[in-house]
């Protein structure tokens, strides 16, 4: 299971600059969340079937899995909303089933579905929640952080879906938590709002926060997560960094191109033919453990026959593909 390894931050350079010098806050091996043999049943249905988890201070931990895999159940247990059937759990050094006000002071929660107070403005809502905490962040600063400055005096009931979600995030941050749970924080966002949310989450990591993220979006996990854990049917089926999950680093590269007019697999030389894995919508896809060698052969063949192959792509298997393999294998 997870050992305290710290990897190079696995995100594009843009995210890294958004996160600033966040890595300096990380203390290797300091466990924020630890679960061992966790099982959760609803009556006869076993939603979570024995999982082990470790989340370290300062990291973004992404929890992936299909609908019904037990993600939200696990998160709600870690947030102190549920009782477990078996196993040991510690969050910020405390069993969340016995969470008290001092513990809640240090944990921020963005629930998967929760309305904002419809009859309070953004600012009033944040002030209400700020008053619940001993230490809280300045409300106006938070409004700015989540990009709701123009909407600060608008009633919660009149916000758009994306604006409400940003208020959800601000409400989770108002107590200046050490640990933040984000349950599908960008569901329903358009691409630019999602990008803005990612930069904000990267910024939270820069502040030294530990983030437990559940998501359906592979790009989101790839962009934000230090480590990924995949859950399917209540069990962990894969764990690693975005680069190493499911043996992605050892997996074969894919080369794909559109067949030139009138050309098919029968026209390929034997070496290339053997590498063809699929054909879809007029595109050939080749898999290989030695991409440069195969590309050389392919280039020679194309040049010889005068094929341009101008839409050729070479890539590692996408995180989505790895994810689908992992989750489908468990069915």
């Amino acid at each position: 299971m997870a050992t305290g390894f710290q990897t190079e931050r696995a995100v594009p350079a843009t995210a890294r600059s958004a996160a600033g010098q966040g890595d300096g806050h990380r203390v290797a091996g300091e466990t924020v969340i630890s679960a061992c043999g966790l099982r959760i049943c609803y009556g006869d249905f076993e939603a979570v079937r024995g999982i082990d988890l470790d989340v370290y201070r300062g990291e973004v931990f992404a929890f992936l899995g299909p609908n019904g895999a037990g993600k939200t159940t696990t998160v709600e247990l870690l947030e102190g909303y549920l009782k477990r059937t078996a196993g040991e759990v510690s969050v910020l050094g405390v069993d969340p089933e016995h969470a008290d006000a001092d513990w809640r002071e240090r944990v921020g929660v963005v629930l998967q579905e929760s309305a904002v107070e419809p009859d309070l403005t953004v600012r009033e809502c944040l002030k209400l929640y700020a008053g619940y905490y001993g230490s809280s962040r300045p409300v106006d600063e938070l409004i700015e952080l989540v990009g709701l400055k123009e909407k600060a005096d608008v009633l919660g009931g009149q916000l758009s879906g994306g604006q409400r979600r940003r208020l959800d995030v601000a409400l989770a941050l108002v107590g200046d938590p050490e640990l933040i749970f984000l349950d599908e924080p960008t569901t329903g966002f358009d691409p630019s709002a999602r990008r803005a949310a990612w930069e904000m989450i990267g910024g939270l990591q820069a502040l030294g926060k530990t983030i437990f993220l559940t998501t359906h979006y592979m790009e989101e996990a790839e962009y934000l997560a230090d480590r990924i854990c995949v859950l399917a049917a209540g069990r962990i089926v894969g764990e690693g960094t975005p680069q190493t999950l499911g043996g992605r680093d050892r997996a074969r590269s894919e080369i794909s191109f559109t067949w030139p007019a009138g050309v098919g697999r029968a026209d390929l030389p034997p070496v290339l033919l053997a590498a063809v894995s699929t054909e879809h919508r007029g595109r050939a896809e080749l898999q290989t453990a030695a991409p440069m060698e195969l590309l050389g052969t392919l280039a020679a063949w194309a040049q010889e026959h005068g094929y341009a192959l101008d839409d050729i792509e070479v890539h590692r298997p996408t995180l989505e593909k790895i994810y689908l393999e992992l989750t489908e294998a468990s069915r």
Partner: protein, 271 residues
């Protein structure tokens, strides 16, 4: 499992009474902003008083000790209605909506104690009930010449307080039986409307058959109306405390509170 240490110390939270005051401030603000709350809780009792006095204003009603003007009779009845509307009907609808939309669940993820949330919402309900009582008394006296009590004002205040707290407890209890926000409104009408009609709030009880009075005497609405009527009845001698009615109200309140503590859920139930 390594030991986790908090990175920085935290300031102490506000004391409990300040937390309740904080909650009351924002729950009160939200109540006043909500058009539905304002209409059903503040405007409707006044409208009922105007309509009932317009229809029956010049007649008399037989009560303990003699006869009184219909308007004098309707003021305590509609004060009872106002209290029930604020601390029971409005509370059930708004708390169910807050539970089903996840607002209560989110509030519970913060350090605020559960009892502060319940107390805050109850104070708003009791305060609203008291405000509507004062408004109805003033309108009754100024517009319809209803008798203004003097000596019995402490008894009226106690009756309003006991009634409001009782119906808050019953409200939190009823919320536990409602499964979705959509069913809150029909359930609340089903529970309260018949009781309001048989308890002398809209129809004077001197015209009602004995068996119907026996039924209404079991439920709390009648006892709040009777306790308030005793305070407003000019024939009442002494301080006007209806101890018997207040006791029955308190028993209902205690039962409601027990059910609420036993069954109250902070999480949505419909999903």
């Amino acid at each position: 499992m390594s030991v986790y240490t908090a990175p920085h110390p935290r300031s102490p939270r506000r004391p409990a009474h300040a937390l309740v005051a904080h909650q009351v401030r924002y729950d009160g603000l939200a109540f006043l902003r909500n058009r539905q709350s304002r209409f059903f809780t503040l405007a409707l009792p006044v409208l009922f008083l105007v309509i009932l006095c317009a229809i029956f204003g010049n007649g008399t009603v037989r009560v303990a000790g003699g006869e009184i003007k219909e308007s004098t009779y309707y003021v305590p009845g509609l004060v009872a209605y106002g209290v029930i509307s604020a601390s029971f009907m409005n509370l059930v609808i708004s708390v169910t909506a807050q539970r089903e939309s996840g607002i209560l669940k989110r509030r519970r993820s913060t350090p605020v104690p559960a009892w502060v949330l319940i107390a805050g919402r109850s104070v708003v309900a009791v305060g609203t009930g008291a405000a509507i009582a004062v408004i109805l008394m003033l309108i009754g006296a100024v517009v319809y010449g209803a008798t203004v009590p003097g000596r019995t004002i402490p008894a009226i205040c106690v009756s309003i307080a006991v009634g409001a707290i009782t119906f808050c407890a019953l409200g939190f209890a009823l919320v536990t039986a409602i499964k979705s926000a959509d069913s809150a409104q029909p359930v609340i009408q089903l529970v309260t409307l018949p009781l309001l009609f048989i308890s002398g709030v809209f129809v004077p009880s001197d015209v009602m058959p004995r068996w119907l009075l026996d039924v209404s005497n079991f439920f709390p609405v009648r006892h709040l109306q009777q306790a308030l009527l005793k305070g407003f009845n000019p024939h009442t001698v002494g301080a006007g405390f209806a101890w018997h009615d207040l006791l029955i109200l308190a028993i209902w309140g205690a039962v409601g509170l027990a059910i609420a503590i036993w069954r109250f859920s902070w999480k949505p139930r419909a999903r």
